[in-house]
């Protein structure tokens, strides 16, 4: 058995190596193209964010005319920018949405992953369909409803519609994570003398925590990046960052404040990107969970 398994490998290795080098070069060139394509525009945003307004359209690749002024403009209330407020609003809306979706969704995900019941297929189909629901179909009726009950521009006016896509996403992602978990360990722990509470605390919770955390990041990013609903249902006081960036005011009136907008974009994006890169593996697993297998 061992001989037949190793024999072909040693036989083909020299022949393959020679072809492999050329293939490897092409792989590296392709990888470089992907890297440049994905990172260059983001790099350009950061470089521009640190560029003096007078040199907005400077086309040198490296940072030139470096200044922090744009970041000051972003937070300059005399220009009508309330970016600190906008950041807080985004945090509140995305935070509350995430917590609600997780707390509610974790039970549904457990049921879908672990229990046998009729209509499971239908329930999953409904939840998936809900996640693909067009936001614009909610905005119109909610616009009128919230106007009538005086909720226009309140936090809940954004949180409620945001739940329509974060909750299905949460349930969907958690279900596929839960399905992969070694639940037999719980039983083994019980046999080894753990109480049900101990088994949950010491076995299930540590196993489920990373999955839940990853799902929370995905839900948070979804709500943080939301634009359509917020652009229609928020007010000056509750405006989140995505909407604020779209309607930014610069130092010169009637002039698109490119550099300040890039600075605002950098502030919004960099923490998110760091978060994503730190939890890269988990996030990719969460993103693709359920779509394959």
């Amino acid at each position: 058995m061992a001989a037949t398994a190793t024999l072909p490998r040693t036989a083909t290795a020299p022949a393959r190596r020679k072809r492999f080098d050329w293939g490897q070069v092409r792989t590296y060139i392709s990888a470089l193209i992907i890297l440049v394509w994905c990172l260059l525009p983001a790099y350009w945003m950061i470089v521009t964010a640190f560029r003096d307004t007078a040199f907005t359209f400077d086309s040198s690749f490296w940072p030139t005319h470096v200044t922090w002024d744009n970041f000051a403009t972003v937070f300059d209330e005399s220009l009508g920018n309330h970016f600190g407020r906008n950041l807080l609003n985004s945090l509140i809306v995305a935070g509350v949405t995430t917590v609600v979706a997780l707390v509610v969704g974790v039970f549904a995900a457990y049921a879908l992953a672990r229990l046998n019941f009729r209509f499971k297929f239908a329930v999953m189909g409904f939840i998936l369909g809900a996640s693909m629901f067009p936001g614009v179909a909610l905005v119109t009726p909610l616009f009128q409803l919230f106007t009538n009950i005086g909720w226009m521009g309140s936090y809940q006016a954004m949180i409620i519609p945001d739940i329509s896509f974060t909750l299905p996403l949460t349930v969907y992602t958690l279900t596929s994570f839960f399905r992969e978990m070694p639940w037999e360990l719980e039983e083994s722990a019980r046999i080894d003398g753990c109480t049900q509470g101990q088994a949950f605390r010491k076995i299930i919770l540590p196993l489920a925590a990373p999955a839940t955390f990853t799902t929370a990041i995905l839900a948070f990013i979804g709500a943080w990046n939301e634009f359509l609903i917020a652009s229609q249902l928020s007010s000056d006081a509750t405006r989140p960052v995505t909407v604020a960036i779209a309607y930014f005011a610069g130092a010169q009136p009637h002039q698109e404040p490119y550099t300040a907008v890039m600075a605002a974009g950098t502030i919004v994006t960099v923490p998110l990107v760091i978060l994503v890169l730190v939890f890269q593996r988990k996030i990719v697993a969460g993103l693709t969970a359920g779509a394959v297998k």
Partner: protein, 335 residues
């Protein structure tokens, strides 16, 4: 798959008339699990009913009512009333107060917005599928720095679409870097086709990574031995791609395409921020938003039409093209 087993064996046992020891306890287990499941699912389903079904039903009811407005015949400002299918005729047949909608009004833009939406959907999804497939194949190979590439593709995905729109608006500015790099002097957001391509390129940059990661996950499920065997049989690289990779990755690919198509059909942020829908870049979602402040009920009819269009596309995908997202999600991970 294994989750369905008890039910099936039970049914089989019943059908064949065998006596099955422990059948009663299995039945009871089924019932208690069902009860537990409905209890655990209840909060989610109730919440989704409140945030989705209630507004949709509300929108449908609204769509059959007249918008408040000036009655041309009487000269009075009137409150609504039943409209029948008038609001739908307004959009689909371009009827404004019984005659053809004058050009330039929101009502006259329905079919062009419809066309624009489908143009964006077909072009962006096609581009993203081809590019995403290529990226996935590269990322599936083993080379040094692979994890860096896999991390880099997450960057466009993580950037909010509103920021993406502003970023590419700046790149495509008249004095911007795109014109300088290519030595062109195009007013990208100033006329129809440059504006459309600017939006297509931005969308492709933003969402190709998502596509690539989904396809990559599908590629990783194909065992290496299959390729080895094909090589031994003398299959060329192209044959290996069309005969092995494509058919085996098809389920994951179809789900990814379905997700992207449904997402592209509701495209709003990029054109709304980059062009405000000018120069024929108005999508159906933008048209609804433009209409909201002009009259709820017509807007409700339009949003219902948009919803039905998206629903129909999803239905066609699942029914005829075999994009089985639900099946992928409900099947057990243990295989």
């Amino acid at each position: 798959m294994s989750t369905k087993l008890p039910e099936r064996t039970q049914a089989k046992a019943k059908a064949e008339g065998h006596h099955m020891p422990g059948r009663e306890s299995a039945d009871r287990k089924q019932v208690t699990q069902g009860r537990w499941a409905s209890l655990l699912l209840l909060p989610t389903l109730v919440l989704l009913a409140i945030v989705i079904i209630y507004p949709v039903v509300n929108a449908i009811i609204m769509s059959f009512q007249k918008d408040a407005g000036l009655n041309a015949a009487t000269g009075f400002f009137e409150q609504g009333g039943a409209a029948g299918f008038d609001n739908y005729a307004h959009w689909l047949l371009q009827q404004c107060n019984g005659q053809a909608c004058p050009p330039g009004t929101i009502g006259s833009q329905f079919w062009s917005a419809f066309g624009t939406t489908f143009f964006f959907t077909v072009v962006t999804v096609a581009l993203e599928t081809v590019l995403g497939f290529w990226m996935a194949i590269i990322m599936a190979r083993s080379f040094r720095g692979r994890s860096a590439v896999r991390a880099a593709v997450l960057v466009p995905w993580a950037i909010p679409t509103a920021v993406t729109a502003k970023l590419w608006f700046f790149i495509f500015a008249f004095d911007g870097i795109a014109n300088k790099l290519f030595g062109t002097q195009i007013l990208w957001t100033g006329s129809e086709w440059p504006a459309k391509w600017a939006i297509v390129i931005s969308d492709t940059w933003k969402t190709t990574p998502f596509m690539a990661l989904l396809i990559l996950a599908g590629l990783q499920l194909i065992p290496d031995e299959v390729y080895e065997a094909a090589k031994v049989d003398g299959a060329t690289a192209w044959q290996r791609f069309t005969q092995i990779t494509l058919p085996l990755v098809k389920p994951a690919l179809m789900v990814a395409v379905l997700f992207r198509v449904l997402d592209a059909l509701r495209m709003f942020d990029l054109p709304y921020i980059m062009t405000q829908g000018a120069n024929n870049t108005t999508t159906l979602s933008i048209l609804v938003v433009d209409q909201i402040r002009e009259g709820f009920n017509s807007a409700a009819a339009l949003s219902t039409i948009t919803f039905i269009v998206i629903f129909l596309v999803a239905f066609i995908f699942v029914r005829f093209l075999g994009a089985n997202a639900v099946g992928a999600a409900t099947s057990s991970g243990k295989k």
